[in-house]
Structures are given as C-alpha cells and as structure tokens.
C-alpha cells in the first residue's frame, strides 16, 4: 500500500441552478487575458446538449483519453497521443481541436454607442473578434446551448444518446422540452491523467502533496498533445503565448486555506472539497480493468482514512497529521465512499477522474401527464396547469419513475460507464432520503414506510439524516475541509533557512541581498 493524498471534489447536480457564477469567478481570476479569453477552466453545460467544446465527449472526433490496447491483456494506451503517435504527429496534430470547436472570442464595440455622431438611426455596438479585432458573425459561445435542451442543433446531437434505442430517444425528445440538468465541469485532476502522459516535454505533472495537475509554463513548448489527450478537453492552448494552460484548482488559494474560487462562489452550494487517500500502487491496474468493473475498481482505490493500517501507511509516507485529520472529516469521502452517492464523469475514458458527481434526481422525476394518465399516479403528485408536471409523490420509492422517463441509460452513459443498476442505486438513495425527510417534516409518510424505503435503498435513518444535513444545511466549513498545505516544511527542504536568518525582510524576491565582489 502506497498511500497518497489528493484534494478531491464532489458536485451535487440536483442543487446546480445553472447560474454560471462559478465560471465567472474563475474567468475573473485566471483567464481574463489575451489568448485565454476563449478558455473556461470552469464551464457549465446543459444536458442533454453538445457542450463545450462542441461534442467534446465524442472521442471518435477528438481522440482523447485512454483505451484498452488491442491484443494487450491489461494494458491501456492513449487514444490520440502517446510516445509514437505524439512524436509522429508533432508537426501537425490531426486530432487537435481548433478555435472554432470552442468559439471565437468576441466583444462589442461599445464605444460606438457613445461616440457616434448624431444620425437618423440608433447607433449599434457591432460584435468584433477578440483575436483579429474585425467584425464577426457570432456563431458560438461557451454556453451557447444554455437551457436549449429541446433543440435539434444541440440536445439531439448529444454523444451520450448514441446507444439509446429510437424509442428511448423519442421519449427523451418529448421530455427534454421540460427536463434537463446542468453539468458544471472543471479539470478532474485525474489519478491517471492523460494530459500528463501525453506531454512530450514533460511539462505537466501531478503534485504529490495534493494531487493538483499543473502545467509548468516554462517547460511547455506548444507541442499541443495535452489538448488532444485530455478527454474532458480541460487543457487549453493559449494562442497568444504559445503555451497550454489548465485549471490549477486555485492552488494558491488552497495552500492558504481558502476554497477554490468556483467553489467559494457557488450559489447553489453544490460543491464540496476534501481530502481523499488513495493507494498509488494500484492505479495502473485500476485504469486497465475491464469495462464492467472500471468504476468499482476506481472507487476501491480510495482508502478508509480511519483504518489504522491506512493511517500507519500514510504516516510512513510522510502524510501530515493535519492532512489525515482533514481526510477523516472529508465531505468528499462521505459522499463517494460512505454513502456511495457520487460517481465520476465518464469513467470509460480511464483517466480515473477525481471529481465526483451526485447524479440529479429531479430531471428523472419529470414526466408528461399524457403518458402517465392511465398509469398509477399518486394523488399528492403536484399538478400544474398545462400538460407538464413533476411527480413529487413520495409514497412509493419509485412511483412511476421506473417507466421510461428521463432514461436511466442516458445518465448511466454519463456517470457509470453504462451501468444502469449502479445509477439506479444512487437515485434510489436520493429518493429514499426525500421520503425520509417527508416523513419527518410533512408527516404524511409513516415511519414504517420511511424505514422500509431506507432499507430498500441501503441506508439507515442516521445516514439519511447526515446526507440531508450535508446536502441542505452544510455551512462553509462543512463543505470545504481544506488541509493545511505545510509550505513551511517545503521551504525548509528547499532552502537552508538558517542562511536567511538575520537578513529576512530586506532582499530580493528570489534571494537574499548579497554584496558585490
């Protein structure tokens, strides 16, 4: 057992209101620069939809992530990069997205409104490209399909619809006019990062202490392989500086004990951040496991921070007590391992992403009245005027949900490598907690009923209470349990602090002032 620690995240999708505050917070701090205007290290997508960059999930286009090596038993290789492909394609990378796959950044000539001479017509502010400065026709934006879930252009081109039957797709097309959800995405700071593996210069690395994946800007030489290799398209090429950039998980903030900007600002309070301990010896094996057990194998890598054997091994590896303590209180550990509520996004890309999502229950509950009319619909189901309604009946664990509503398969394609049972398990738990709370607050569900429902979902009342508390009531310090960074120890390893003694407070940025020869 080789214990390492990682600062990891959980996003609770039922709570996301799609306000994009997270994206703006990130943009303001990190990417409001020339060459980076088009980058959204944090972006929020409407699902079903094509996302940003367009159809990023379709690896037949972008060739990102890992795949099982053909012929090789338990081996994986990069789909569109790697030593051979990377070096052969170094002059021209055929799998690299171009700016139009994202969007051409633009602004408006606002000054024209103010400085226009008096004329018969209203002056207009024309859109201009932020690259060339010329007028452009805006065709695309980072959240162009925001809330446009029913459209031909976006929702129906969602790559996750691929292996849904025509009937299921039809059901969705009806539904999508009312049901969609938001998917906020940042870099997953993967355990088996494809971006790191693809970089010919070796500029990208994972930090041992907290697992943040970073690009060393001084070593990056614009070979552009990471842009292809990251299946989540979260490594971006800065066209101005000729260097690639990506989400840095606000490491300067984390080191100082603050939550990353996107998480701190999240209006829906959907985001949780905490330490996970994992076994680094088994990473390769987990990344190469069979499709059916991929998710399980990844979750198995995560270690119980209260297990004495794990604690001993962690101390052996020099993990600080404060980090261990943070791991024991980690909200992420609770969601992912204790309650088994959260899943990684697209585990089939085999990068072992360390950002987990609690799947959304609400869109699954949405339904159309006509379809359900002759089926059993409980009287407490909320009924709206038009033909749409939300089945909020909580008598049955599933009510009519089992019948094709928002297809489970679609969700399973996103979060569990197509495993519908795994997905259903999570949704059942979410539903069970709702029923339990209904029993507590409204009281129209008997205790017997609620206990039975919890049991079916594999929860206890105590767990349900804890889930409810962390989901709905959690305060800042409950949602973000940030370990101390211990930079002081790092500094002592890097520099002979005794040398600087007696001269601190007066010197240069990199060194103490020294007199000339």
């Amino acid at each position: 057992m080789n214990v390492r620690s990682q600062v990891s995240m959980v996003f609770h999708l039922d709570k996301c209101i799609g306000c994009h505050t997270c994206s703006i917070a990130c943009k303001n701090i990190w990417t409001d620069r020339k060459g980076a205007e088009y980058m959204w290290w944090n972006n929020v997508e409407t699902k079903p939809g094509t996302g940003y960059p367009t159809k990023w999930e379709d690896q037949s286009i972008y060739k990102g992530g890992w795949q099982k090596t053909e012929g090789g038993e338990n081996e994986i290789s990069l789909r569109g990069a790697g030593k051979r492909k990377g070096l052969l394609n170094i002059f021209h990378n055929p799998n690299m997205p171009v700016i139009d796959d994202y969007y051409e950044p633009f602004t408006y000539k606002y000054l024209d409104l103010i400085e226009s001479p008096s004329m018969d017509d209203q002056p207009t502010a024309r859109p201009v490209s932020l690259i060339t400065g010329r007028p452009i026709d805006i065709k695309m934006g980072p959240n162009w399909d925001d809330d446009l879930s029913g459209t031909q252009d976006f929702a129906r081109k969602d790559p996750n619809l691929e292996n849904l039957s025509p009937a299921e797709q039809e059901a969705m097309f009806q539904l999508e006019r009312m049901a969609f959800f938001y998917l906020p995405r940042i870099c997953n700071h993967c355990l088996n990062p494809a971006c790191v593996a693809s970089c010919p210069s070796g500029a990208i690395y994972k930090r041992g202490e907290d697992g943040v994946v970073l690009i060393n800007q001084n070593v990056c030489r614009a070979w552009r392989m990471c842009v292809t290799a990251c299946p989540y398209k979260k490594s971006y090429y800065n066209w101005n500086t000729g260097k690639s950039e990506k989400c840095i998980l606000c490491y300067p903030r984390i080191e100082a004990g603050y939550a990353p900007a996107c998480m701190h600002s999240c209006v829906g309070r959907i985001r949780y951040l905490g330490v996970l301990l994992y076994d680094a010896d088994r990473i390769e094996q987990a990344a190469a496991s069979d499709d059916s057990e991929l998710v399980q194998k990844q979750l198995d890598l995560l270690l119980d921070p209260c297990d004495p054997a794990v604690i001993a091994a962690a101390k052996e590896n020099g993990i600080a007590d404060s980090t261990l303590h943070a791991a024991q209180n980690s909200p992420v550990y609770k969601f992912v391992k204790e309650w088994k509520l959260a899943l990684p996004l697209h585990p089939e890309f085999r990068t072992l992403p360390m950002l987990f999502y609690v799947p959304p229950l609400l869109p699954v509950m949405a339904t159309i009245r006509e379809k359900i009319k002759d089926q059993k619909l409980h009287d407490i189901a909320k009924d709206w005027e038009d033909t749409w309604l939300y089945d909020t009946s909580t008598q049955e664990l599933w009510g009519a949900i089992d019948q094709a509503r928002f297809p489970l398969k679609y969700m399973a394609n996103l979060f569990s490598n197509g495993d519908q049972n795994l997905m259903k398990e999570k949704l059942l738990k979410l539903m069970a907690v709702r029923i339990y709370r209904r029993h507590k607050t409204v009281g129209d569900v008997t205790e017997e009923k609620s206990n039975q429902v919890l049991k079916e979902a594999g929860l206890t009342p105590k767990m349900a209470e804890a889930i409810y508390a962390l989901t709905s009531l959690a305060k800042f310090d409950d949602r973000f349990v940030i370990p101390a960074a211990h930079r002081e120890q790092a500094i002592e390893m890097m520099e002979f602090t005794g040398d600087v003694k007696g001269s601190t407070g007066f010197g240069f940025k990199d060194q103490t002032a020294k007199r000339g020869l």
Partner: protein, 239 residues
Amino acid sequence: MNTFFFVIYPYLAFFIFCVGFVYRYKQTGFQVSSLSSQFLESRTLYWGVMLFHWGIMVVFLGHLLAFLFPKGQLLWNTHPIRLILLEVTGFTFGLLVFVGLIFLILRRFISKKVFTVTSKMDFALEFLLLAQVILGCWIAVGYRWGSSWFAADLSPYLWSLVLFQPKIKAVSAMPYVIQFHIIGAFTILLLIPFTRLVHFLVAPFHYIWRPYQRVMWNWDPKKVRSAETVWTVTRPRNN
C-alpha cells in the same frame, strides 16, 4: 571582405548562437516555444508544415552527412547511378521545403487569425528561409554535382573552421550563389536563439525514455524532519 564573411562572420554567428540560446533558455524560459498556430488554422498548416519539416530534415541530414563524412560521400558518388540517386533525392526534398514554405507564407497572409499572431521576425525568418531554399535548389540544378564538390571543397573549409585554422581559398573562388548560400546558413544559425526556431533545440526526444506519469513533490515527504537530511539543500525540480 572574404575573410570577414567566411572567417569572422561564422565565428561571430556561432558565438552569438551559443550565448543567445543560453540566455534565452535561462532568462526567458517562458519564451522558448514552438508557438504553434495550428489552433487558429489547421488545414493549410497541414500541407505547409508537413512538407517543410520532413523536407528540411532530409536536406539538413544530407548536408550534415557530407560535412561529417566527406570521404564516404565521395566514395558513394564514384558510381554515377548512386550519385544521381542522391542528387535527385536531395533536390526533390529541397523542392518539398520550397512548396511547404510557400504554403506557410501564404497562410500567414491569408488567414486573418494567423496574421495577428505573426511577428515581424516571423516574416523576416520565413523570407530568409525562402531565399536560402531557392538558392539551394538553384545550386543543385546549376552547379553540378553539389554532393561531390561539397564533400571535396566545402567540408574541408568547414572543418578548417572547426579546427581554428580557417582555409578560405576554396570558398573565395566559389560562385556568388554558393557564397550567398553559405552566408545565409550562418545568418540562420545566428538568428536561431532570437526566433521561433529555438523550438528545434528543445525537441522532446527524452519523451521516449520517460515513464508516462509524472508526480512531483515540493519536498521529499519521507525526508521531512529526518535528522540527517534536514540541512541538506535540495532544490525542487518543479518551476
């Protein structure tokens, strides 16, 4: 005049190249990049960049081999078929470089996006390379057989420079076209540290040997607080 161009200038160019590269690498490491513009325009680039790079690699290799092994070169050329084969190959790849370069130059003017990321130095460099390639192809056609007289006359000249006993009699007698080609070559060498050409000095061959994953520590977690090592200064490898 000849002494300046064929003795002083080469040494000067080489000196500036060395100092310039070390300076750029150490002081402005952030600026060492291939500055790829594929992100802004990919299709024309494919043709330009592929023809140019593969062409120039072969051509450069040809020059290098003739410089390193002039005897072997002459031996190879004793057979006319082999000589013609070599000359035709070299000329073809020279043409590829030319065509590729034309694509690249036109692309910089036609694509507005690429134009905005083009510096004056990029244009200067591209036209210098173009001139060099045209001269090279002209020499290959007009002054036969280059591979032989390069090995017989130019290799000794270059070696004389390397050994610090410059002998410029042979070059001084060469036609102007060839002389310009030589001066052009040293000019390119001189410019390498100050243009995007630096990227070929940092070609990532070490990728072949390194393991795929890289994990870095700000400090060696096992050594923290260990009494023997706490005072040893180990600089971190990142940043």
